[in-house]
């Protein structure tokens, strides 16, 4: 124990004077977390969290345009612009604004839309009345090719943005048309049956709705995946694995500098010295992760981002962080043992961490990776690290939810340590 503790203290003295190493371990992940969270904040937001500025060209001036306008404004997601420089927008002016990139979207309600919708509603109501044996007939003319509401997009907009807007506008259009049809049918029914009771057909049709929920502990409102919730743990884990650089440098300097030789000349198990070293880096990794958690909880809100939600299982989270740190530390020991010089080890260590992080879901969630990368990701410890942390932070999971990632990471740690020991044994022959 004394030898383990002595090695732990020695590592502490070395790292506290290594400002470059400390910056790499703490400053780099903080910068990555802040920058990547800000960069990815937009793409991570649901479209319903956005406010869209849309040009609104009303060539119709009727009921449809008005209802559409009211509906869109009620959602508080749309700011409708009908005039520019005190001039009412026209189709050509809207086209010009979109073409010049000033606006991303224009909604054009062509002339005659309201009349066409009312006429079609009358036709539908008459048809229903006829089939029900009622004699009522609302005024109408023959149907004609439908007039279309025109959505004009800036070519740079993304397909999912266009789809979201189309769905929103289509939803209002359908609602307006169905409201008019139901209104007509209701009026015919009332006049034919002399029924004066008030029945809100539209309301009845919406009696079965949709509610969104997520499983979890009622004590805490579970956070939905957002940029902070993804990036803080992801880049904290990346930072922990970047410890490989510091460990490699430390190990190779020891070996090339001769202190490794002196350590081997001292009686007693060399395993104690390795344990002291690994123990120190595990504690350092844990400290690193908790600093990043604090950044997520307290710095992110200052940057107008949501605060990190840490779940309800601090002990399970600690166990998970311990296993990640153990895996990162032993990976560093393996790389540092495998290579003879820092010129070989540092680039390999850094690149391997970047690759493992990319396929492990650090850069973007693993679900959006192509199938080939999803398959490759099983070799990345960061995949299990992130899965375990997300099980606690996002799914409010307990010990059982982290059992598998914990087991994989700890087994991986033991395997890499064993490999490092084998390599070192071979080298000393």
């Amino acid at each position: 124990m004394k030898r383990i503790l002595a090695t732990y203290i020695k590592e502490w003295h070395l790292i506290r004077r290594d400002l470059g190493g400390l910056a790499l371990l703490f400053l780099m992940p903080i910068l990555l977390i802040v920058i990547m969270t800000l960069v990815q904040d937009g793409p991570f937001k649901d479209y319903k969290d956005h406010m869209f500025e849309a040009l609104f060209v009303d060539e119709d001036g009727g009921r449809v345009a008005n209802s559409m306008k009211e509906g869109l404004l009620e959602t508080k997601q749309f700011k409708l612009i009908e005039t520019i420089n005190n001039e009412v927008l026209t189709l050509s002016k809207a086209q010009s604004q979109i073409r010049s990139g000033n606006y991303k979207l224009a909604i054009i309600i062509p002339k005659g839309v309201s009349a066409e919708v009312v006429n079609n509603a009358n036709l539908v109501a008459n048809e229903i009345a006829r089939k029900m044996g009622m004699g009522a007939s609302l005024p109408h003319r023959e149907g004609r090719d439908s007039i279309q509401i025109h959505l004009m997009f800036d070519p740079v907009t993304k397909p999912d943005f266009r789809m979201a807007i189309m769905n929103a506008v289509d939803k209002f259009n359908t609602k307006i048309q169905s409201d008019i049809v139901l209104d007509r049918v209701s009026n015919i029914a009332k006049s034919e049956t002399a029924d004066t009771s008030s029945v809100d057909i539209a309301k009845l049709l919406h009696s079965v709705g949709i509610i969104e929920s997520m499983p979890g502990n009622k004590k805490q409102l579970l956070s939905k995946m957002n940029s902070v919730q993804h990036n803080v743990p992801a880049w904290a884990i990346f930072g922990m694995f970047f410890m490989v650089i510091v460990i490699c440098d430390n190990l190779i300097s020891e070996r090339t500098g001769g202190s490794w030789t002196r350590l081997k000349l001292i009686p007693g198990s060399f395993a104690h010295i390795l344990m002291g070293k690994v123990f120190f880096y595990i504690v350092l990794g844990i400290a690193q992760f908790y600093v990043m958690i604090l950044i997520g909880m307290y710095l992110m809100p200052l940057l107008k981002l949501p605060a990190l939600v840490v779940g309800n299982n601090p002990f399970a989270l600690f166990a998970m962080i311990f296993s990640i740190s153990a895996c990162a530390s032993t990976f560093g020991i393996l790389v540092g043992t495998l290579f003879s010089t820092t010129h070989q080890a540092l680039p390999v260590g850094a690149i391997s961490v970047v690759i493992l992080s990319a396929v492990g879901g650090v850069w973007v969630p693993i679900d959006v990776l192509p199938d080939s990368l999803k398959t490759i990701s099983i070799i990345s410890p960061m995949r299990y690290a992130l899965a375990g942390v997300n099980n606690i932070l996002l799914r409010d999971g307990g010990w059982m939810s982290i059992f598998q990632p914990l087991l994989i990471l700890l087994s991986g740690s033991m395997l890499t340590m064993f490999l490092a020991w084998m390599i070192e044994q071979r080298r000393s022959k």
Partner: protein, 246 residues
């Protein structure tokens, strides 16, 4: 004290063996110079003697104990001063000494006193809290020796302890070695400074190409081979050809 019989060691991918059927023995209480040109096998022999290299053939016993079956107990009785400065440059001198001392499981108070005394003896007490990387070459060499004395070794093995040091440090180191030997301890050391070896050693062993060339008291060997000094003897026996090793 040391007995080596038919020692053989060839490293993987090496063209020639580093040590080839080497046999020699030394008695306790002497200062022995292990001499030879570059690549002669000095460092390999020392590494085998102190248990760093385990994969070899032949019989080696140190302080009367076969090293292969007594490696751990022998480590406690040996002090090895490697050719390199085997200290952490990023730690202060005292942090280095405390660390290596604690690995020997020496009680803290005893260790503290031992370090204080050695720092004083080697003239480093005023620089104990300075980082090793800020030390001069001579100071580093002295600190390197101190770190090998913390366990009070009965046999001190030094690999070129005076290489590249200033005159004062060299004088101090050689003075210490003499007094350490006079206290009843044995010393084996390698050096390319033959004048130094001639004046310091009770016995020298010259090896070349991994084999023993000659062994004996330096003055007697010089007389026997009718050379001017140990350097003349060395050149006569090992030749004048340059020995560049990569």
């Amino acid at each position: 004290m040391i007995q080596v019989k038919n020692l053989f060691k060839q490293f993987k991918n090496a063209e020639h063996p580093s040590v080839n059927d080497l046999s020699f023995s030394f008695e306790a209480g002497k200062i022995v110079g292990l001499l030879g040109p570059n690549g002669a096998g000095k460092t390999t022999t020392i590494s085998i003697l102190c248990g760093l290299i385990k994969d070899y053939s032949g019989e080696v016993s140190v302080l009367g104990l076969p090293i292969q079956s007594n490696a751990e107990s022998l480590k406690m009785k040996l002090g090895i001063v490697p050719q390199q400065i085997a200290l952490y440059p990023g730690l202060s001198c005292i942090e280095n000494l405390k660390y290596f001392g604690s690995l020997y499981n020496i009680p803290a108070s005893t260790l503290h006193e031992k370090i204080r005394s050695l720092l004083q003896q080697f003239g480093l007490h005023e620089h104990a809290n300075k980082l090793i990387k800020d030390f001069s070459g001579g100071m580093k060499r002295r600190a390197n020796i101190i770190a090998s004395l913390l366990n009070n070794p009965g046999l001190l093995i030094l690999d070129e302890p005076t290489a590249g040091v200033d005159v004062h440090s060299r004088n101090m180191i050689l003075g210490f070695l003499k007094s350490y030997n006079e206290a009843g301890n044995s010393i084996i050391y390698t050096s390319h400074i033959l004048e130094e070896a001639e004046s310091l050693c009770d016995e020298v062993l010259i090896i070349d190409n991994g084999k023993k060339v000659v062994q004996g008291h330096p003055a007697k060997l010089v007389a026997e081979y009718q050379t001017e000094n140990l350097e003349g003897l060395f050149l006569k026996l090992t030749g004048y050809k340059l020995r560049d090793t990569l």
